[in-house]
C-alpha cells in the first residue's frame, strides 16, 4: 500500500483553504490550472508507460479535480477515515486521471506515477484499493461502480453519517444493465446522499454513443428512475462546484456533465481514436504547450 506524501498534502490543504477564501473567478482559475497540470502529468505518464486511456482521462479531469480540490471531505493522510466522503471511479480505465489527481492531493508521492503500468507497480491500468490510498474499490469492468456506490450510500444512511457518495461514470458505460438496476434501487430508496456524475463525452471506444446504442434522452432516463438531474458543462468548474454543493432534494442526484473527450489538447478533442492511443513525444510536448496556456 502506498503512503501519503506529507509536503504535497500540506500544499493541497493550503489550496483548499485559499480556494475557500477566493472570489468566484479566482476559484475558476485555480481549478482550471490545477486540472491542466494533472492533464500534463497524465499525458507524460501515459507516454512513458506506452499505454493508457488518454481521451477519457482528459474529459474527466475537471470533474475529479473539482471533487478532490474543492468538494470531497477527505484526508489524504487518513485514507481510511470512516466518515470520509466516498469517490468511486466506475470508469476504471481512466485510472490515470484518478492517479494524477490523488498524487496531486498527496495521497501518495508524485514520483510513484513514473511506475504507472510497470512491473509490480501499485498503479495498475485499473485502480486497486488494496494498493492505492484514495481508491475506494477496484474497478475496471464497466457497470460496477454504481451498485457499490448504492451500498456505500445505504451504509452511510444506516450509520447516521453525513458522508456523501459520488460515483463517476462513463457515458458509454451506461449501456451496461447493472447501472440501471442500481439506479432503480437508489431511486426507490431515495438515497439523497448519492450523486452520480456522468462524463458525457459522447464517445465510446469505437464510435459515438449515439451511433452505437443511443443513450439520449439521458436526462429523462435518470428522472424516470427516480433521480433529480442536473445537466451542465463538465469543464465549467464553478458549475460543477455549484451542482455538488447545492441543497439536496429527496432523490439521488445525477449530474450529466457534458464533456469533450481529449479536452484541452486540440488534436485530440472529440476524436474517437484518442480513446487509448498513446501520444508520441512530439505530441506530448505540443499538448503540454497548449495546456500551459
Amino acid at each position: 500500500m502506498l503512503v501519503a506524501a506529507p509536503q504535497t498534502v500540506a500544499a493541497w490543504t493550503r489550496f483548499r483553504q485559499e480556494f475557500a477564501d477566493a472570489a468566484p473567478e479566482q476559484r475558476r482559475e485555480m481549478l482550471r490550472q490545477r486540472a491542466n497540470q494533472s492533464r500534463t502529468t497524465d499525458l507524460q505518464m501515459i507516454g512513458r508507460a506506452g499505454l493508457g486511456h488518454v481521451g477519457g482521462d482528459l474529459s474527466v479531469l475537471d470533474i475529479l479535480t473539482t471533487l478532490f480540490f474543492a468538494v470531497l471531505r477527505v484526508d489524504p493522510e487518513k485514507p481510511d477515515w470512516a466518515d470520509r466522503d466516498r469517490l468511486v471511479l466506475s470508469k476504471g480505465h481512466n485510472a490515470g486521471a484518478l492517479y494524477t489527481t490523488l498524487a496531486a492531493a498527496g495521497f501518495f508521492a508524485e514520483d510513484e506515477l513514473e511506475t504507472f503500468a510497470g512491473p509490480l507497480s501499485a498503479l495498475n491500468g485499473h485502480p486497486n484499493r488494496t494498493k492505492v490510498p484514495g481508491v475506494e474499490t477496484n474497478t475496471g469492468p464497466l457497470g460496477h461502480g454504481l451498485p457499490i456506490g448504492v451500498g456505500m450510500a445505504v451504509a452511510a444512511e444506516m450509520s447516521g453519517s453525513a458522508r456523501q457518495v459520488y460515483v463517476v461514470l462513463g457515458d458509454g458505460e451506461l449501456q451496461e444493465g447493472s447501472n440501471w438496476e442500481a439506479a432503480m434501487t437508489a431511486g426507490h430508496r431515495q438515497l439523497t446522499n448519492l450523486t452520480a456524475v456522468v462524463d458525457r463525452n459522447r464517445l465510446q471506444q469505437g464510435a459515438r454513443t449515439e451511433e452505437t446504442s443511443a443513450l439520449d434522452p439521458l436526462d429523462d432516463k435518470w428522472r424516470a428512475f427516480g433521480w433529480d438531474v442536473v445537466e451542465l458543462d463538465g469543464h465549467d468548474h464553478l458549475a460543477l462546484l455549484a451542482a455538488f454543493t447545492a441543497p439536496r432534494g429527496r432523490r439521488p442526484v445525477c449530474i450529466i456533465a457534458n464533456t469533450t473527450k481529449g479536452r484541452g489538447v486540440s488534436f485530440m478533442e472529440d476524436r474517437v481514436e484518442w480513446h487509448h492511443k498513446v501520444p508520441s513525444a512530439e505530441q506530448i510536448s505540443l499538448a503540454t504547450a497548449e495546456l500551459a496556456r
Binding site: 475506494e136 445505504v154 451504509a155 447493472s178
Partner: protein
C-alpha cells in the same frame, strides 16, 4: 434388517439453522446486515426482516446490484450476508463476485442458498452445480460448504468474524446431522469423521452423510474407509489430501456439483503434483444438463448415492491395489 431400528434418520434444511444463527448474531452485532434479491422467503429471511426491518436490504430482482451493494456495505464497515438462490447469485453476478468482492477484498459473506440440484424439478436453470468450479477459479475467495445444521451454524458464526470474502453454500435438500453440536468451524481444515486405512472418501455438503453410510456398508465387506468432511473447498486442506494418499493409498471425492472444477479437480491437482500419485475417482455431476426429476432422483441419476460411493470404494481398492 429390523425396520423398527432402521427408521430413517431425522433430516434438516440447513437454511433454518442459517437464519436462526444469523438472527442470533445480529442481536449482538449491529454491523450484521442481510442483502437479498427479492428472495426474502427462499433465503429464509422472513424472521430476520421482522426483527430487523432496517437491516434487510432487498434490492429487488437484481443480482449484480445485490453483490455490488454488499461490497459497498462491507467497504463501509458492515458485515453483509448477501443471500440469493445459488444459481443466480453465482451465475448472474460472477463478475461482481470476482471484481467487487474477491479482488477488492471486501469482506462480504456470499450465501448461495439451495445449491446443487436442490430445485430438482425446476430444472437446470435453477440448479447450481457449476458454482464450485466457477468460484474456485477466483483468487482470494473462501468457499465453504457446511454439511449439516450444526456446521451451518458454526460456519455462519465464523464467517461473521472472518473479515475476508467468503462464499457459503447453504443447503435446502434435507440432510441428517453428521457433525457434533457446538463444534467451532475451522476454515481450511478437513474434518475426519471416520478413520480408515484402505481408501479415503472426501465428501462435501449433501454427500457427507452418504459417504458415512457407504463407509458402514464397505466395512461389512472388509474395506476400511476414511471419511473426510471437506467443508472448505478453497483453500483446500492439501495436507489432508497428502495424508490420505500416504495412509490410505486411494482417494474418492464426492460432491453435488460438476466434476469439471470443484472439489474433485482441486484434490486431483494435489494428487497429481506428488511424485507418486495414488488411484483416484471423482464422483459428481457429469457435464450434462439434468433431466426432469426431484433431487433424490437426480442424485441417483448422477451416481451420487451411498451405494455408488461404496461401489467406487470397492472397485478402487480391489482393482487398483
Amino acid at each position: 434388517m429390523n425396520a423398527a431400528v432402521d427408521s430413517p434418520p431425522q433430516t434438516y434444511d440447513c437454511r433454518v439453522a442459517f437464519a436462526e444463527e444469523l438472527i442470533a448474531l445480529a442481536r449482538t452485532d449491529e454491523r450484521i446486515v442481510a442483502v437479498c434479491n427479492d428472495s426474502v422467503g427462499s433465503s429464509n429471511l422472513v424472521a430476520f426482516a421482522r426483527e430487523f426491518p432496517d437491516r434487510l436490504i432487498n434490492v429487488g430482482i437484481a443480482e449484480q446490484t445485490m453483490v455490488g451493494v454488499g461490497a459497498g456495505l462491507a467497504l463501509s464497515g458492515y458485515i453483509p450476508f448477501v443471500c440469493g438462490a445459488a444459481p443466480f447469485l453465482t451465475g448472474r453476478a460472477l463478475e461482481q463476485i470476482k471484481a467487487d468482492v474477491a479482488y477488492s477484498q471486501s469482506p462480504v459473506v456470499l450465501c448461495g442458498m439451495s445449491p446443487g440440484m436442490a430445485y430438482g424439478e425446476l430444472g437446470p436453470t435453477h440448479h447450481s452445480i457449476e458454482d464450485l468450479s466457477w468460484l474456485r477459479a477466483i483468487a482470494g475467495l473462501g468457499i465453504v460448504v457446511p454439511a449439516d445444521p450444526a456446521q451451518t451454524r458454526a460456519a455462519v458464526r465464523w464467517a461473521a468474524g472472518a473479515a475476508t470474502p467468503v462464499f457459503l453454500r447453504i443447503g435446502r435438500f434435507k440432510v441428517p446431522a453428521v457433525t457434533p453440536e457446538n463444534q467451532p468451524f475451522t476454515f481450511g481444515v478437513a474434518d475426519t469423521l471416520r478413520e480408515g486405512s484402505d481408501v479415503t472418501v472426501m465428501a462435501t455438503g449433501t454427500m457427507v452423510s452418504r459417504a458415512l453410510q457407504a463407509a458402514d456398508e464397505a466395512a461389512q465387506e472388509g474395506v476400511s474407509m476414511r471419511v473426510l468432511n471437506m467443508s472448505t473447498i478453497a483453500p483446500l486442506d492439501e495436507d489432508a489430501v497428502r495424508r490420505a494418499m500416504r495412509e490410505t493409498g486411494a482417494i474418492i471425492t464426492v460432491e453435488e456439483a460438476t466434476t469439471t472444477g470443484g472439489l474433485g479437480a482441486a484434490v486431483a491437482a494435489v494428487v497429481t503434483s506428488e511424485r507418486v500419485p495414488v488411484p483416484m475417482r471423482i464422483l459428481g455431476v457429469r457435464r450434462e444438463f439434468a433431466p426432469t426429476g426431484d433431487t433424490a432422483f437426480l442424485l441417483e441419476h448422477f451416481g451420487l448415492t451411498a451405494a455408488d460411493i461404496r461401489a467406487a470404494a470397492l472397485s478402487i481398492t480391489r482393482t487398483d491395489a
